[in-house]
C-alpha cells in the first residue's frame, strides 16, 4: 500500500498559546526529516501523531493517512509505528515474545513462530528468539526493536532520534538498515533528529522548525 502521511496545520497548544504548528507531506517510501533545536516541539508533533499528547497540551489540525483523517482515532487504532532513542524492549518478554506482540491476533502458533523466526534472520539474529532482551548488545537490541515495529505492519513509521545511543560505526549501520526496510516497504517515514548526518542519509525533504 502506498499511502502518504500528510499533516495539515497540526498545531500543539498549551491552553490558548500555540507552541508549534506544522504542515507537511511524508510521501510513501520516502524519509522526511523534521529538524529543529531542543524545545521546538518536535517530540510533541510525534506525540500528536501517535495520539499520546501529554496532559496540559492539546492538538488541532488534521493527520491524513492515505486520505483518512486519523486524528479522531484512538492511538492504538492508528497503526503508526514508532522507534525511540532507547530500544524499549519489554523486559518481561523474551526476544521472540517482543516480536510476536506486534503480530495481529489470529493464526496458528507455528505460523506466528515462523514469522518471528523469519524476521530475526532478516536482521541476522537467528536463534535468539528465546533470549532475555537484557542480554543483547546495543546493536542487537536496536535490530529487534526495528523488527518488532515492522512485524506489526504499520501504515507509517515515526523515528524519534532513534540512533542517538549508538556509537558512530553502529550508528550508520543501523541507520541504513532502518531506512532500507522503511523504503522497501513503501512506508511514509518521519524522522525527527538534530543530527544533519541523519538528514543527509535520509535523502528526503527536510523541514526545519523554529
Amino acid at each position: 500500500m502506498a499511502e502518504s502521511l500528510i499533516l495539515k496545520t497540526l498545531t500543539i497548544s498549551a491552553g490558548a498559546t500555540p507552541i508549534v504548528s506544522v504542515s507537511l507531506t511524508a510521501a510513501a517510501g520516502e524519509i522526511t526529516t523534521l529538524m529543529g533545536p531542543s524545545g521546538s516541539g518536535k517530540s510533541s508533533i510525534l506525540a500528536a501523531i501517535t495520539g499520546t499528547v501529554p496532559d496540559g497540551l492539546f492538538a488541532t489540525g488534521e493527520i491524513l493517512l492515505g486520505g483518512q483523517n486519523i486524528a479522531t482515532f484512538p492511538g492504538w487504532k492508528r497503526h503508526i509505528g514508532i522507534l525511540y532513542q532507547d530500544d524499549l524492549l519489554f523486559p518481561h518478554l523474551s526476544v521472540g515474545g517482543n516480536l510476536a506482540l506486534g503480530l495481529a491476533p489470529g493464526g496458528r502458533r507455528t505460523e506466528r513462530q515462523g514469522r518471528v523466526k523469519r524476521a530475526l534472520s532478516e536482521v541476522g539474529l537467528e536463534g535468539l528468539a528465546a533470549r532475555d532482551p537484557a542480554t543483547l548488545s546495543g546493536g542487537q537490541k536496536a535490530r529487534v526493536a526495528l523488527m518488532r515495529v515492522l512485524l506489526s505492519e504499520p501504515r507509517a513509521l515515526l523515528l524519534d532520534e532513534p540512533f542517538g545511543t549508538l556509537d558512530s560505526e553502529l550508528r550508520s549501520q543501523i541507520r541504513s538498515l532502518v531506512f532500507n526496510h522503511a523504503k522497501a516497504r513503501g512506508l511514509p517515514t518521519l524522522l525527527v533528529t538534530h543530527d544533519p548526518q541523519d538528514a543527509e542519509a535520509a535523502g528526503g525533504p527536510v523541514i526545519r522548525l523554529r
Binding site: 492508528r78 525511540y84 523486559p91 518481561h92 537484557a134 504499520p154
Partner: protein, 557 residues
C-alpha cells in the same frame, strides 16, 4: 467520555474510600445528639455532653491520648529521619524492602504482646538482670506496663511506626533526587548526615506528609497497643469510648458517639499543631543551612545504628520471648529460660489455631483480591489525581473508633447481617488505601513510552493492561498483596464489630484470650498472628525471583 471498566473501578474506589467514613460519621453525630439506635427515647444532647465531661478521669484520658499520640509520632519520625541521615540515604529501596518487611508484616497486637512480655517487671529484661545485677528474687513492684504517662504504649506504637515511616522515606528518595543532592552537598564540604538533613529531607518530607499525618492519627486513637500496654486508671480515650459502646447501660452509647467526636477533634487539633511545628522546623532548617556549619557524620551514623538495632531488639526480642512462653512448662521468676518445656498449649490449641489461621488468611486474600482489582482499575483510569490522593488517606486519618460503630449500625440496617461479608467489606475500606499507596508510584513510574509503543503495535488499552502493565508490575503487586494481607490480618475493631462474633480471626482471638493472662496462650497466638502475616511477605519476595529468573531486566528494575 465512555464509561470503560476502569472508570467504573475508579468511582467504586472513591465510593469505598469516602462512603463508609461519611456514613459512620453521620451515625456518630446523630448519636452524639442523643439518638441512640435501640433506645426508645432520645436523650437531650446537653445531658449527653454533660455526662461526657463529668466522666471520671475524662480530662486525663483526653490529654493522655493527645500527648502520647504526638510523642509517638514525633519520636518515630525523628528516629526514622536520624536513621536515614546517619546512613545518608544510601539505603536502596530493594534492599530495605527486604529487611523492613518483617517489621511491617507483624500485626500491631502481636508486636505489643511481645513488648509486654519483654519489659514487664516479670519480663525477660528483668529476668536477664536478676538476681545477679538487680538483686530481685521476686518481680519488683514497678509500674512499667500501664504507666500513667503511657510510655510503654508509646514504645509499642513506635516499634511499628518507625519501620513504616522509614519505608515511606526510602520510597520517596528517587523523587527527592537524593543521589544528586547528596553529591552536591558533600562536594560543598558538609558532613553526610547534616548534608542529608539540609538538602534531601525537605524534599522527602513533602512526599511523606500524608503518611505522617496518618501515623499521628493512628497513634492517638489506636486500640491494640492501648489495651495491651496502656494505662488503665484512666485509660486513653479510645478505650473509654469502647467501654461506653459496650456498657450494658444502653444510654451510654450516646456518650460513645460523643466521645468519638472528641477523638476526631483531638486528631484535628493535633494535625494543626503538627502543621505549625512543620513551619517552625522549616524555619530552623533554613537558618541552619544559612549558618554554613558543616557538621560531621560519625555521631549520626552511630545514632542511626543504635536506633535501628534497638527497634529490632524490641520487636524480635519480644517474639523470642513469646515463642519461649508458648513452649514453657514451668517458668518461674527469675529464671531466664523455662525450667521445663511443654507443648501442652500447642497441642490443645493447635487445631483451633490452624482453623482460625486459615479463616483469617482466606478472608485477607479475598479482601486483597478485590482491593487489587479496584486499585489497578482506578490507576488505569488516569483519574483526578487530587481526589484520589485526598480520599486515600481519609480512612487512615479519621480514627477507626470514630466511624466504625456508626458504620456497623448502618450495615445492620441495610441487611448485611454479620459474618464474612460485612467484615470483608469493612476490611476493604482499610486495605484499599494501602494498596493504592503501594501501587501508585510503580504504576506511574512505568515508562510512558511503553504505552506509546504498544499502542503503535496495535494493542488495545485492555490488551496493554493484561500483557504489559500487569506483568511489568508483578513485583510491586506481590509486595502490595503482602501489605494488604498483613493489614487485613491485623484488623481488630472492624472484625469485632461487624463479625458478630461469628468470624474469629487470629487477632480477635488473641485479644480475647489476652484478658485471661495466660502467657503461654498469648505466646502461641502472638506467634501465629506474626507467622500468618509474614507468609505473604515471604512469597512476595520469592515469587518475582522465580518468575523472572530468566529476565534480568525485571529483577533489577
Amino acid at each position: 467520555m465512555t464509561l470503560s471498566p476502569s472508570h467504573l473501578f475508579f468511582w467504586l474506589t472513591v465510593l469505598i474510600l469516602g462512603g463508609p467514613v461519611l456514613a459512620g460519621l453521620t451515625g456518630v453525630v446523630a448519636g452524639a445528639m442523643g439518638h441512640v439506635p435501640g433506645l426508645q427515647n432520645a436523650i437531650p444532647a446537653g445531658d449527653v455532653w454533660g455526662a461526657v465531661w463529668s466522666w471520671p478521669g475524662i480530662g486525663r484520658s483526653v490529654t493522655l491520648s493527645f500527648w502520647t499520640g504526638l510523642l509517638a509520632a514525633l519520636i518515630s519520625l525523628a528516629s526514622a529521619t536520624l536513621i536515614m541521615a546517619g546512613w545518608s540515604g544510601t539505603l536502596s529501596f530493594a534492599r530495605a524492602r527486604h529487611w523492613l518487611a518483617p517489621f511491617l508484616a507483624v500485626p500491631h497486637a502481636a508486636a505489643a504482646f511481645g513488648i509486654a512480655v519483654l519489659i514487664a517487671p516479670s519480663g525477660w529484661i528483668a529476668r536477664a538482670l536478676s538476681p545477679w545485677l538487680s538483686g530481685w528474687e521476686r518481680p519488683p513492684d514497678l509500674l512499667i506496663l500501664g504507666d500513667p504517662l503511657g510510655l510503654a504504649m508509646v514504645l509499642g506504637l513506635i516499634v511499628k511506626e518507625l519501620p513504616f515511616l522509614l519505608l515511606m522515606m526510602i520510597a520517596a528518595l528517587p523523587q527527592a533526587k537524593a543521589a544528586t543532592s547528596m553529591a552536591l552537598v558533600t562536594a560543598l564540604g558538609y558532613g553526610c548526615a547534616r548534608g542529608w538533613l539540609l538538602a534531601v529531607f525537605p524534599g522527602i518530607y513533602r512526599q511523606i506528609r500524608l503518611p505522617v499525618y496518618a501515623v499521628l492519627a493512628y497513634s492517638m486513637s489506636a486500640v491494640d497497643a492501648a489495651l495491651i500496654l496502656g494505662p488503665t486508671t484512666p485509660p486513653p480515650i479510645a478505650i473509654v469510648i469502647l467501654r461506653w459502646a459496650a456498657d450494658p447501660d444502653l444510654s451510654l452509647r450516646a456518650l460513645a458517639s460523643a466521645g468519638a467526636l472528641v477523638q476526631l477533634g483531638l486528631v484535628l487539633v493535633a494535625l494543626v499543631l503538627w502543621r505549625l511545628g512543620e513551619i517552625a522546623v522549616a524555619q530552623l532548617g533554613r537558618s541552619l543551612a544559612e549558618s554554613g556549619q558543616r557538621g560531621s557524620g560519625r555521631a549520626a551514623e552511630i545514632a542511626a545504628a543504635t536506633l535501628a538495632a534497638t527497634s529490632g531488639i524490641f520487636l524480635f526480642g519480644g517474639f523470642a520471648v513469646l515463642a519461649l512462653w508458648s513452649v514453657a512448662g514451668a517458668w518461674h521468676f527469675p529464671a531466664f529460660l523455662p525450667e521445663t518445656l511443654s507443648f501442652r498449649v500447642w497441642a490443645s490449641h493447635g487445631a483451633a489455631l490452624v482453623e482460625t489461621g486459615a479463616a483469617t488468611l482466606l478472608l485477607a486474600f479475598a479482601v486483597v483480591a478485590l482491593a487489587l482489582a479496584l486499585a489497578l482499575g482506578s490507576l488505569e483510569a488516569k483519574p483526578h489525581r487530587c481526589l484520589l490522593t485526598a480520599l486515600v488517606y481519609l480512612p487512615l486519618i479519621v480514627p477507626q473508633v470514630t466511624f466504625l460503630p456508626g458504620l456497623q449500625a448502618a450495615s445492620l440496617k441495610i441487611g448485611l447481617g454479620s459474618g464474612a461479608l460485612p467484615v470483608g467489606l469493612m476490611h476493604l475500606v482499610f486495605v484499599l488505601p494501602y494498596l493504592l499507596l503501594v501501587l501508585a508510584d510503580p504504576f506511574n513510574a512505568l515508562d510512558p513510552r511503553y504505552r506509546t509503543i504498544a499502542a503503535g503495535l496495535g494493542l488495545s488499552p485492555a490488551r496493554q493492561f493484561w500483557r504489559l502493565r500487569l506483568p511489568l508490575l508483578l513485583t510491586p503487586i506481590a509486595g502490595a498483596v503482602a501489605v494488604g494481607m498483613a493489614v487485613s490480618i491485623g484488623q481488630y475493631l472492624p472484625t469485632l464489630l461487624a463479625g458478630g462474633g461469628r468470624l474469629p480471626t487470629l487477632t480477635t482471638e488473641a485479644l480475647a484470650l489476652a484478658a485471661g493472662g495466660d502467657r503461654r496462650v498469648i505466646g502461641a497466638y502472638g506467634l501465629a498472628q506474626a507467622a500468618a502475616a509474614l507468609a505473604p511477605f515471604a512469597l512476595a519476595l520469592a515469587l518475582p525471583r522465580r518468575v523472572w529468573r530468566n529476565r534480568q531486566g525485571m529483577l533489577h528494575g
